[in-house]
Amino acid sequence: MTEPSHVEKPLYLEGWCCLLGSRTERVLAALELREPDRVPTMDVMEEYANIYKILGRRPIPLGFLFSNKYTGRVIDRLAPLINRSHVMDREMDRFSYDRTAASVKMGYDASWVMHVPIWRFDNSKVGTDIYGRYYDVVFDREGNIGTPMYRGGLIKSPADWDAWDKRDLLRFPARTNVAFSRIIKDFGNDIFVMAGFLYGLFENSWQPLGFERFAVAVHKEKEFISRIIKFYEDHFCMMLEAWADAGVPGAIYTDDMAYRSGPMISPRMMRELYTDSLSRITETAHRLGMKIVAHSCGNVYALLEWLAECGFDGVHALEPTAGIELATVKEMVGDRLCLVGNMDITRILVDADREEVFQAVRESIQAAGKGGGYILAPTNSHPDISVERLYWMLEAVEEYGYYPLSA
């Protein structure tokens, strides 16, 4: 499927948004389980192609530089210098800013702004991150650099963890404070910023080890896992402080704890290992005056009650392809958690026709919007998502999303 290189925002979406209540109030109402004027919308956009299509600009050709035979060889030689000079970190700062600009231009009420100055490169093909994962460098269909593809972990033992260079991790809060200060200064009045970064406590305790190693450690070396969890608990709280200082009103706690069949580890083990840390994270966010939403892909039914108990204000993704039905989630935890997401990214936002997109929006709003407590959003970001269908989604919310909702 090809889309025009630049997609104009329909005039229909201009202007209405501000007449009927500010975006901040709309989003806060939903997160506080009150009825806003309209079902709010949140974007989940991390793809270069779409963001720069919306902005009507060409991105820096990072993909070309990495994949080209000649410039790739230059990068191979200069990788240590690239890492030491934090060139890629500055690109990630800029990307976070630009994706927020794109969200504002599209007319979203909230924006999930990921800030990820975490990549380090061995060469033009493989790299690591500051947490201890290693990756393949990948590209989307248009040749833009994509989110690197996880291959495994570098931390196999407590000794590896102790020896791991954590300086960039400890510098991260300061860096993110600067990045978000700029974003809030320029866009804070136009959109409700939900700050996020990769990754949460669960993913940071298994991915740097690799799943096979984690499977052994989580059963036999709980003290090792607990040390890692505690470090990232403290780290996340520092990130919250940094965001709050920058004026950010909300946070997304990103942590894929489930897959299509359910949680990756037993809910009992999840509770045992992560409850105290997550409770401290949500308490810190609330103390700082921020809202905090938990994101997890997959079938999260078995985790919903627990996430509510940990103090989150909302839960995101709610993937229909993982068997999640909004109405069921609303019944289970809708009195305690704001539901965020549910717009399918495998077909509806990829190649469905306009009527199907409108139908999907209407059904989601009917299932979860009653009484407030629902923010409509894609379940995730993906290079196949169509900008045109995102605009249809927003138009559909304008048609069906005003309270009182039609029956």
Binding site: D136, D140, R141, M149, Y150, R151, F211, E212, F214, A215, V216, V218, H219, K220, Y259, R260, S261, G262, P263, M264, I265, S266, M269, C297, T321, I345, T346, V350, H382, P383, D384
Partner: protein
């Protein structure tokens, strides 16, 4: 036999239980003890496979989760280190040969590895081609190993076209009629399986065993 001796059958029960209880540190010792007590290697293998079967049942019942399946696979691997040198080559893989891989462009392998472990402990011969596998390599492997079935892992929606590439390549090589194809992974749906012309869709590694038993006529 006096009260302190362990019966032959009890050794095998201990082996099976060690798999079910995820006894990673003790499995080698337990397997060695069973062999030292006179148990046949094949019987010990059967006990380990029975243990994996019980692990699968616990997963289906919601008692065990993905991480437990993976640990059970690790326990199996440790036990097989003691056992494999003693086994006849034919004793592994009586149910058929399955070629497993993650499609070209995708490198996710947790699910694939788990399926491989479950299949090999259930009596299949598994040829694991790894990740990011081009279609030509799949065709060569099916031909070389006379595989009865292939299992494709696809996590990324953007890589689903690789499924049809493999199906087409097998057809072009005249192999499609002789090999069954199953797909699995986060982005796979029944709709996709039907569209791609494959024979089965698997939700998880435990179901994969039943699927391949059905596909291979075991």
């Amino acid at each position: 036999m006096n009260g302190k001796e362990v019966s032959m059958g009890e050794h095998l029960e201990t082996v099976k239980k060690a798999i079910v209880d995820l006894e990673l540190e003790d499995i080698e010792k337990i397997v060695s003890s069973a062999l030292d007590a006179g148990e046949e290697p094949q019987a010990v293998l059967d006990a380990m496979c029975a243990g994996m079967g019980s692990v699968g049942e616990l997963f289906d019942q919601g008692e065990y989760f993905l991480v437990d399946l993976v640990l059970a696979g690790e326990v199996m691997k440790e036990g097989l280190k003691v056992l494999e040198p003693l086994l006849e080559a034919e004793s592994m893989g009586q149910k058929g040969t399955v070629v497993l891989f993650t499609v070209k462009g995708d490198v996710h392998d947790i699910g694939k590895n788990l399926v491989g472990t479950m299949l090999s402990t259930s009596g299949f011969k598994v040829v694991d081609l790894g990740v990011d596998v081009p279609k030509e390599k799949v065709v060569d492997a099916v031909r070389e190993h006379s595989a009865q079935a292939i299992g494709m892992s696809v996590l990324l929606t953007s890589m689903v076209d690789s499924i049809s590439d493999v199906v087409s390549a097998l057809s072009a090589a005249g192999l499609r009629d002789g090999v069954k194809i199953a797909i699995g992974g986060a982005c796979t749906t029944q709709q996709l399986a039907d569209k791609m012309g494959v024979d089965a869709l698997g939700r998880d590694a435990v179901e994969a065993v039943r699927i391949f038993e059905s596909l291979c006529g075991s």
